[in-house]
């Protein structure tokens, strides 16, 4: 059992989906409760995983490695480090909350919906567990289709447009990724004499500079679309606005993290030299995303698309932190992946709750809600504060480390990014003011009910997480730090980049003269 715990966590939701197939489709209540129970057990399994995970330890844990298609070097290779562990836990938690949030809003084809949600869970957890590139790709694609259906079947008015846009963007990226995967496969064959899709092995293969650039480019494009990095972001607002609440929660909370996770798990260890080459380009795009996303969020009329553009801005922060390529930046970025999942997930859940009451998300339809819905307003305020990174909430810790790391890597990047912190306060507080403060101007808002018990159960865990991570994030760092160090060491192994003593990635200058080499050596000894 313990040796196969990753298999269990990954495929348990799939098992649940199969079970749902057996339930008659008009039995809505049984479908809902089974889906909830399955996702809940999956969450407990991931907690068990967390409990058994050895913090501060190096290397992958709970590894499973079974040959699958031996002739092609494909194996069922799973294993997790601290980064994947935390993302898995976040995924399972958000999944429970998303399912719970769908109880009243999904009324059509209920069975199909919950089957999609569970299938999606398996795909997402699988991506975070995979250590085999082929397996990774399979889970990556498995994830795509349930989401397509969730947006396309249970979405809003323009759902078809949004769903197709989502799939086309993503497919375009994954096709390039597939080509790159195949290229690597053959390259590895000529290097080692055998086929292998094993990520850990592939990361040890030396690749020429040109090849790295192309391969990095192909993967990076796939991941950048997912993140989404400016200017590949235009699918996101449409997908968010049209998706049902749960779809938005999972999309923002987990699916976007697939992009950043891909960078840290695949691009960086396998193509270290290209990673360093691409720093300025990706950093500049991230900065544009931070500022651009915030500015456009400010002028949105629909609160959901405001949150969507704020995601573009926040994901820009994460990318910037990752490509600072030092401990503070990368650890901050990984933590911020969780934080964004919690805060933005919570925002979408809250927006969904008000949408269920009023069937509109236009900001100017509201105003004065603080009077009729005090508890909802208080929770919304807490989540807003977490989103703008107020100290003692989760958002601050991540954002601070990202900026601190970025500052070390490049002062100007950090200065520009920090101005995004001002903008986030502008658009979030302005939105909050227009929705919650002032007098009630719209009669329809007068009789709105405050949070129900089910809704309280949904928001309370997220609020607790917001404060827990804000006040005592050390347990998380104990799990993140070894994983980030390992990625950096993998990068350093290639010899084209080096990791200095306080864990920053530096390119090794190829054209150093012998004399300069001596000086560098002397300096090192001097220290």
């Amino acid at each position: 059992m313990e040796s196969q715990i990753l298999t269990l966590v990954t495929f348990f939701p799939l098992l649940g989906a199969a079970l749902l197939l057996l339930i008659p489709k008009e039995r809505h209540d049984s479908v809902k409760s089974i889906a909830l129970i399955i996702s809940f057990i999956t969450m407990l399994l991931s907690f068990w995983l967390y409990a058994m995970f050895e913090p501060l330890a190096n290397g992958m844990q709970f590894e499973i490695n079974i040959p699958w298609v031996a002739s092609l070097g494909i194996s069922y290779h799973m294993g997790i480090d601290g980064i994947s562990l935390l993302l898995i836990v976040m995924t399972t938690v958000l999944n429970v909350l998303a399912i719970l949030a769908s109880f009243n809003s999904i009324t059509q084809n209920v069975k199909g919906y919950y089957i999609s949600m569970l299938l999606l869970a398996t795909g997402m957890i699988g991506v975070f567990c995979s250590l085999d590139l082929f397996l990774f790709y399979v889970f990556w694609e498995v994830m795509l289709f349930p989401m397509y259906f969730i947006i396309g079947l249970w979405g809003g008015v323009r759902r078809i447009y949004a769903a197709i846009k989502f799939v086309l963007f993503t497919m375009f990226g994954s096709l390039l990724m597939l080509v790159a995967i195949l290229y690597i496969l053959f390259e590895y064959q000529s290097f080692a004499g055998e086929y292998s899709f094993d990520m850990l092995k592939l990361a040890q293969m030396p690749l020429g500079h040109q090849a790295q650039l192309w391969l990095f480019g192909a993967f990076a494009l796939a991941f950048a679309i997912k993140v989404p990095l400016w200017p590949f972001h235009t699918w996101l607002p449409d997908a968010h606005v049209e998706a049902p609440t749960a779809g938005s929660v999972i999309l923002a909370g987990v699916l976007l993290k697939m992009g950043t996770y891909g960078f840290i798990r695949i691009c960086m260890p396998m193509f270290p030299e290209a990673t360093v080459t691409f720093i300025p380009y990706i950093s500049v795009l991230s900065l544009i995303a931070i500022i651009y996303g915030a500015l456009v969020a400010m002028v949105q009329k629909d609160v959901k698309s405001l949150v969507a553009f704020s995601s573009v801005s926040h994901m820009g922060f994460i990318m910037l932190g990752l490509f600072a390529l030092n401990l503070q930046g990368m650890e901050g970025a990984v933590l911020q992946m969780l934080n964004h999942g919690i805060s933005t997930g919570a925002l979408f859940l809250l927006v969904g709750m008000i949408y269920e009451r009023r069937h509109t998300r236009l900001i100017d339809q509201f105003g004065g809600l603080a009077k009729v819905m005090p508890m909802f307003s208080a929770v919304f305020m807490i989540v807003t504060l977490s989103s703008i990174g107020l100290p003692l909430t989760n958002g601050f810790v991540g954002e601070f480390l990202i900026l601190l790391g970025t500052f070390k890597a490049n002062v100007w990047y950090a200065v520009i990014a920090a101005s995004g912190v001002i903008l986030s306060a502008c658009y979030m507080l302005w939105m909050y003011q227009r929705m919650f403060y002032g007098k009630i101007t719209n009669k329809e808002n007068e009789g709105l009910k405050d949070l129900s018990i089910r809704e309280k159960i949904i928001v309370i865990p997220l609020v607790l997480l917001i404060f827990w991570i804000g006040v005592y994030p050390k347990p998380l760092f104990d799990r993140i730090e070894p994983a980030v160090k390992q990625v950096m060491n993998q990068m350093g192994r290639s010899g084209t980049v080096e990791v200095d003593e306080d864990f920053s990635i530096k390119p090794v200058l190829a054209d150093r003269t012998a004399e300069q080499e001596l000086i560098v050596k002397a300096e090192k000894e001097g220290e």
């Binding site: 456009v296 400010m298 002028v299 004065g368 500052f407 050390k474």
Partner: protein
């Protein structure tokens, strides 16, 4: 007792949690007990720790208590830890002392408000944040308190959120503060990467080696931190939020926007005096901004008609004095004025709150007058506060202001021009404060009969704090009397250990000029007292004896009056230059770049692809004859290729 240091901020936090979580479920007396009681306990603990600290020998008056590691990443390491030294001891006494009085006052002031529970919840959260700010043992935890007080300020300014002006003012305060925080953050980054720690004790020890004194890096660092201070402490150019903050309940204006939060910038600079001492250029900028803000805000104060706004501009102006003191390296004088200002300005605000209480919330002094006989306690306490702020000899404000003026003149970093600016400000202050006194409490009664029939003195819970604060406003300055009066400056001695490291950092001799020129000090003091007396006399002529004079002058200088009344149109300028262009630019990004350019490009690709497929579809005619033709062509081509190969 020192092991209970952490309880000083934690007690109000507990009060916040209880009142906040049980909001709407507990009766008012319990809310009051928890709200005021938690701060009272903090005050008692602060007092006992103060005396414990005092009992230690001067050079070992420093207690650090680390609770747990907060953020750790590689060599970056920050704890939740508190530091009690002479400086933070003064601050916690001011915060809990004045804070407690204001809590008690609020019981009376807010008794009719439906948001009573919410009010005390926020007030306790504020006290927690402010105590964290001043007790933090490192920059980052200080920043926690810093942002926390900003949040509470936002929540309390917008406390009556159904009023658009209140909600707007709260948001404005938060955003303007964020602009300052931007500088604070970047400054912190430089300190960390240069020194390797954000802990104050480490920084004091290592900064002299990590930075080159007088170099550009230390100047940039100090200026960035100062940007943070200008936001929080409402200095040029970020002062615009403070006057609007008067939308909040009056006790909030007294606590947050006069006595404690707005002085955080001054505290921060004094706390990092080691850094500032290493950069004379940064000190010069601080002094210039402080002096200019002092006089600039005072001129606006001359023409305002809202009783609270006059006090708000006066706060901005007085904070300018404190920065002037810091800028001439007279940090002790800055903190001294911070303390006396906390007493008399809290008093003035609370007394003005008592006026509003009597006047059914009418804030316009043109509609007051003659209130003296209706609300005598309020009048006398307000007058004491006014005498203190104008610097009448013997009252607290006199000692602290005089010390600042003298240091501005005589310190190695001072300059006669700084003194002149401070001197003129003192005159302006006396004028607008007495204008306020005369228009509010003296002369004809200009209120309507309805208001008049409701005029009444405030309840005990409000007047008792007023009386205590009035006593402090009188006597609070006696701990820091100047040497030339033959007294001992206890306050300076008390803070000496905190300032010593700063002086050692630059290795100078006797920066705090001793009374080397007693004659000069005497003459300057006499001059400023003279100016104050003349200003009071002029105010009395204008606003009491011959009101027609005021009207005549106002007509004569209507352009200037309009400029001052509209606060130099600063808000309008910011709106036109920054806010509106940003909104239009954002709309452009959304409607043009996002929708037209990026999506247009992608949809364009799709359209082209579609059209292409459409034409290629023509090939699939479904007619066997066409296929057969293409088949034949294919065969011919293939054969041709093979024949050649």
């Amino acid at each position: 007792m020192t092991e209970y240091l952490y309880l000083i901020p934690i007690l109000p936090l507990v009060g916040f949690l209880i009142n906040g979580l049980l909001i709407g479920r507990i009766p008012r007396p319990v809310i009051t007990l928890i709200g005021c009681g938690s701060v009272a306990l903090s005050l008692a603990l602060s007092l006992s720790l103060f005396f414990e600290l005092k009992a230690l020998p001067a050079d070992s008056r420093m207690i650090e208590q680390v609770l747990f590691t907060w953020i750790v990443s590689g060599n970056f390491h920050v704890s939740m830890g508190f530091l009690l030294d002479p400086l933070s001891a003064v601050m916690i006494l001011v915060v809990t002392g004045v804070g407690f009085l204001i809590h008690v006052y609020s019981v009376g002031y807010m008794h009719k408000d439906p948001g009573y529970g919410r009010y005390f919840t926020y007030l306790n959260l504020f006290t927690f944040s402010m105590l964290t700010l001043v007790l933090a043992d490192n920059f980052l935890l200080m920043f926690v308190g810093w942002e926390g007080v900003g949040l509470c300020s936002y929540l309390l300014i917008g406390f009556w959120y159904h009023k658009k002006s209140a909600a707007d003012a709260g948001k404005k305060a938060f955003i303007v503060n964020r602009i300052g925080d931007f500088g604070f953050l970047i400054g912190m980054f430089i300190v960390f990467w240069q020194v390797g720690s954000l802990n104050f004790v480490d920084i004091n020890a290592m900064a002299p080696a990590a930075f080159i004194a007088g170099g550009s890096l230390i100047t940039i660092t100090c200026l960035l931190l100062f940007v943070g201070a200008t936001g929080k402490s409402a200095q040029i150019p970020l002062f615009v939020w403070l006057p609007d903050a008067m939308e909040g309940p009056t006790p909030v204006s007294a606590l947050i926007h006069a006595a404690t939060m707005v002085t955080a910038g001054v505290y921060m600079i004094v706390r990092s005096n080691v850094l500032y001492m290493m950069s004379p250029d940064a000190l010069f900028v601080v002094a210039v901004v402080g002096a200019l803000t002092a006089i600039f805000a005072a001129t606006i104060g001359l023409a305002q008609n809202d009783i609270k706004r006059v006090l708000a501009y006066s706060t901005v102006s007085q904070l300018g004095y404190m920065f002037l003191a810091c800028g001439v390296a007279a940090f002790t004088a800055g903190i001294f004025h911070l303390m006396t200002h906390a007493f008399f300005k809290a008093l003035l605000f609370l007394a003005s709150g008592s006026v509003l209480h009597a006047m059914s919330d009418e804030k316009d002094i043109r509609k007051m007058g003659g209130l003296k006989k209706y609300i005598p306690i309020t009048y006398w306490t307000f007058l004491i506060g006014t005498l203190a702020i104008t610097g009448i000899p013997g009252l607290s404000g006199f000692f602290s202001k005089d010390e600042i003026l003298w240091k501005a003149f005589s310190s190695d970093y001072g300059h006669p021009v700084f003194w002149v600016l401070g001197f003129v400000t003192a005159g302006l202050t006396a004028f607008y404060m007495f204008r306020l006194v005369y228009l509010t409490f003296h002369g004809p009664e200009r209120m309507d009969d309805e208001t008049k029939s409701h005029l009444h003195e405030s309840p005990k819970s409000m007047t008792v704090p007023l009386i205590i604060l009035a006593a402090l406003a009188i006597a609070g300055g006696w701990v820091g009397m100047p040497h030339i009066l033959g007294a001992t400056n206890y306050f300076e001695h008390w803070l000496e250990p905190v300032m010593a490291s700063g002086r050692n950092a630059v290795d100078t001799h006797a920066l705090m000029s001793t009374s080397s020129n007693a004659g000069m000090e005497w003459s300057l003091m006499v001059a400023s007292v003279g100016l104050v007396l003349i200003s009071i006399f002029v105010a009395r002529m204008f606003y009491n004896k011959k009101p027609e004079l005021a009207t005549a002058w106002q007509k004569k200088m209507s352009g200037l009056h309009k400029l001052l009344l509209n606060k130099y149109y600063i808000d309008e300028i910011y709106g036109a230059v920054i806010v509106r262009p940003t909104v239009y630019f954002s709309l452009f990004l959304w409607k043009v770049v996002d929708v037209v350019l990026i999506d247009g490009l992608i949809n364009g690709v799709a359209v082209v692809y579609n059209d292409l497929s459409e034409s290629l579809r023509q090939v699939q005619t479904g007619r066997v004859r066409t296929y057969a033709t293409w088949f034949a062509v294919g065969v011919v081509v293939l054969i041709a290729v093979f024949m050649r190969g």
